[in-house]
């Protein structure tokens, strides 16, 4: 039985295909069993016979001719790249979509928002859409799905009274203090959705006065990450400045802006915000990256200076 097993495995032993323990067993057995040792000898002899006639290498001429022929054919052939992958393999295509839920969500939101905007424009141009003052109960929140846009946000100088003009089906106006739920809701809406960057700037500016509210903080982080206007992002950054230390999500957001924001002013401000936390390992790695590769000279040198001041960790 044992000899059978060894004989079946001698070939793989010779080819180096046995696991260490099996190889050990075969070697031990071969040392004791002359019959199996004969089989090993026969296997090696067979291999030696084959080795008498090794495989001929292709001649350089054949190789060169093959390469040349292939090169000619490649000139007219179309490569299978990204697009072919999408067309040929819908599975891959679907996977791309599945892998990007954020992108898919963004497409839906943009489509939805665009639809609402178009409806608003259509209705706003109708003569019946007149501006009206609305002084209803300020504690009653506005149906947010009814708001189609914010026209303006103004604060009365020297008070915390805010005046917001917004559109539902027709233009409405709301007044109240910053603490009113309705006002806060409108400001949050304005910070997220408005097409007019001036309005977003005003809303974010007002929101920075009440960043303790987690929804407000959320809106500021959203503005910092997504707003197309650098001024709005800068304002949001200001509003978040007090929370970099206590809220790790705020810190992450600021670090993301530090690396990824296209505007050097925003990056510079973010750099100032993280300065007190330069011993944090995440902050340090971001600083190292900035010191090496930020396109702005002064950010690079400032990051380098901050790294140089850092206490030795080891």
């Amino acid at each position: 039985m044992r000899c059978d097993w060894v004989r079946q495995n001698i070939l793989f032993y010779v080819y180096g295909e046995l696991e260490d323990d099996a190889r050990y067993e075969v070697e031990q057995h071969l040392a004791r069993c002359p019959e199996c040792a004969l089989e090993l000898k026969a296997t090696r002899k067979f291999q030696a016979t084959l080795a008498e006639m090794p495989v001929a290498e292709p001649t350089p001429n054949l190789l060169a001719a093959s390469r040349m022929r292939l090169q000619e054919a490649l000139e007219t052939a179309r490569p299978g790249g990204f697009w072919q992958r999408l067309i040929v393999e819908p599975g891959v295509w679907l996977r791309q979509i599945r892998m990007a839920p954020a992108l898919a969500a963004a497409i839906f939101i943009v489509g939805f928002g665009g639809g609402i905007g178009a409806t608003y424009n259509f209705l706003a141009n109708r003569p019946v859409a007149v501006s009206s003052e609305e002084h209803s109960d300020p504690s009653r929140p506005v149906e947010s799905s009814a708001i189609t846009g914010i026209r303006s946000v103004t604060q009365d100088p020297g008070s915390n009274q805010v005046n917001i003009k917004y559109d539902t089906v027709s233009t409405q106006e709301a007044q109240g203090s910053l603490n009113d739920r309705r006002i806060q809701q409108l400001l949050l809406f304005a910070a997220h959705n408005n097409y007019n960057s001036g309005v977003r700037m005003d809303s974010v500016d007002l929101l920075t006065q009440a960043p303790d509210d987690s929804r407000v903080r959320e809106a500021l982080m959203y503005a910092l990450q997504n707003d197309t206007n650098a001024g709005v992002r800068l304002k949001a950054l200001d509003g978040l400045s007090g929370f970099v230390r206590q809220d790790s999500r705020v810190k992450d957001e600021v670090l993301r802006a530090l690396i990824g924001d296209a505007n050097a002013g925003v990056r510079m401000q973010a750099l100032r915000l993280v300065e007190p936390m330069k011993a944090d390992s995440n902050v340090r790695s971001v600083l190292t990256r900035l010191a090496q590769s930020d396109e702005n000279d002064s950010i690079r040198s400032q990051a380098r200076a901050m790294l140089a001041q850092m206490p030795e960790m080891d």
Partner: protein
Amino acid sequence: MPADSYGIAIPVGEMYRPRRAEQEKGNRNPSVRGSLAAQSNRIDDTSLIREAQQGNRSAFEVLVRHYDQSVLRLALHLTGSESDAQDVYQEAFLKAYKNLGSFRFECSFYTWIYRIVTNLCLDHLRKRNVRKEDAPVAVDASGEEYSRLEQFADARSGANPERDLMRRELGRKIGTALSALTPRERMVFELKHYHGLKLRTVGEMLHTTEETAKNTLFRATQKLRAALAEMR
């Protein structure tokens, strides 16, 4: 499976033939052999493949040069004909070029290209089995028939005609014995014995398990030994 989960044990782009000394040592640690070269080639390949996938033809041509010599050698030995080998070479790399978009680094590029080549060669062997042609006679580019193994014997034997005759005879015997194998047995034996690949890799190339490749190699070797013993 991640792209670099297998270390192909042979330095790609250069010929590897199992040396007797190495085999007699039991081939103890083949993974060390050329592993550095293979690793650096793999890194190179990854960026080359990505560039080629984006439509960079010269990146693809560099990739071809990493593998084409061993591809041609395999095709030449399996088909026994320069023009057939050239056809397999051409078809394999064109197919790779056209399907490069579907290569997703789930296996090494080496395994992937060899999969294409072995499939083409298997088709060729099957067709030839249907035609019942005998192996060792080859047809060169000009259409003239010659024996590949005999020709090789000529080159090695020098001025000893008796030895030359014996080598020719042995070459014919080996060629006949090899061509009597089934296409799959022939392929496994070729990849293991003449190309020194690990049976695990052979299994991957032929879309089968290592165990099946092992059994096939065992059967092929038994048949060859029997055939060569009969002829002696």
